[in-house]
C-alpha cells in the first residue's frame, strides 16, 4: 500500500514539491550542448581568423546565427542549473545560499540576454 495521496501521485512533484524538471533540463540541455558545443568549437577553429570581419560574416549567415543563439541559450540554462547544484551543495547558511543562488541566476540571465541580443544585432543589422 502506498502512503502517497492520489493527488500527490498524479502531480508528480515529490517531496521537494517541484518534480524532476531541474534534473531533466540539466540532462536535455547537456545532450543539446554535446552537439552545439562541437559545432561551436569547430566553427571557431575553421574561421580564417578571429578578426571582426570574419566573425560578423560567419554570424551573418542565418544557419550560424540560429545555432549560435541555441548554443548561447542552452549554455546559459545548463550552466545556471549546474552552478545552482554546486551552490546548494557547498554554501552553508540559508541566507548566504539564497543570496548566491539569486545572484548566480541573475548573472546567467544577463549573460544569456546580452549574448542573444548581440547575435541578433549581428544577424539582422546588416553590415556595420
Amino acid at each position: 500500500m502506498s502512503l502517497r495521496s492520489p493527488l500527490g501521485y498524479v502531480l508528480g512533484h515529490g517531496s521537494a514539491r517541484e518534480g524532476v524538471h531541474h534534473w531533466w533540463h540539466l540532462r536535455t540541455t547537456s545532450a543539446a550542448l554535446a552537439v552545439l558545443g562541437i559545432w561551436f568549437v569547430f566553427g571557431i577553429l575553421t574561421l580564417p581568423d578571429l578578426g571582426r570581419t570574419s566573425v560578423v560574416a560567419w554570424l551573418g549567415r542565418p544557419v550560424n546565427a540560429v545555432l549560435m543563439m541555441l548554443f548561447v541559450a542552452a549554455t546559459a540554462w545548463h550552466s545556471a542549473l549546474g552552478v545552482q547544484v554546486v551552490v546548494e551543495d557547498y554554501i552553508r547558511g540559508k541566507g548566504a545560499r539564497v543570496l548566491v543562488l539569486i545572484g548566480v541566476r541573475f548573472v546567467h540571465i544577463l549573460a544569456g540576454a546580452a549574448a542573444l541580443f548581440a547575435v541578433l544585432k549581428l544577424a539582422l543589422g546588416g553590415k556595420a
Binding site: 545532450a31 558545443g37 581568423d49 552553508r92 541580443f117 548581440a118
Partner: protein
C-alpha cells in the same frame, strides 16, 4: 535542528582520493570553470555587435596571456566535461555501474578528453598566436 549541525553532501576530506572520485569532482570543477567562460563568450559577442572600436578593445583583452591560458583551460575543460557528461548520461540510463566498468569508462574519458584537447589546441594554435 540548527542548519549548521546538519551534514551537507560532499565530505570530500574524509575519503582517500580515488580516481573515480577525482573525475567526479573534476566534472563539477570543469563545469563551473566553463560558466566563467560563458561570460567571456557573451562579452566577445557583445563586443562584435558593438562595432570595430569595442571589438578592438576585446581583442586586447583576449590577447592577454592569462586570458589565453584560460582559453587553453576552457578547451580542455570543454572536452573533459563533454566526455564525462556522456558517461553520466550512460549512468542515468542505467549502464556502466559496475566497479570495473566505471573505472574503465573513467580511463576512457581521460584518454578521449586528452586526445580531443590536443587536436583542438593544435588547430587553435594560429588563433591563439596571432589574430585576436
Amino acid at each position: 535542528m540548527s542548519p549548521l549541525s546538519r551534514p551537507l553532501s560532499p565530505h570530500l576530506q574524509v575519503y582517500r582520493p580515488m580516481y573515480t572520485m577525482v573525475l567526479s569532482i573534476s566534472h563539477r570543477a570543469s563545469g563551473v570553470f566553463q560558466s566563467v567562460g560563458m561570460i567571456l563568450l557573451a562579452y566577445w559577442l557583445v563586443a562584435a555587435a558593438g562595432g570595430a572600436g569595442s571589438y578592438a578593445t576585446a581583442a586586447k583583452v583576449f590577447s592577454n596571456p592569462f586570458v589565453k591560458l584560460a582559453i587553453v583551460g576552457w578547451i580542455v575543460a570543454f572536452w573533459f566535461h563533454l566526455f564525462a557528461g556522456l558517461r553520466h548520461l550512460a549512468w542515468d540510463a542505467g549502464f556502466g555501474f559496475e566497479k570495473q566498468s566505471a573505472r574503465r569508462s573513467g580511463r576512457l574519458v581521460v584518454v578521449l578528453a586528452a586526445l580531443a584537447s590536443l587536436f583542438t589546441l593544435a588547430l587553435a594554435w594560429r588563433h591563439l598566436g596571432g589574430g585576436a
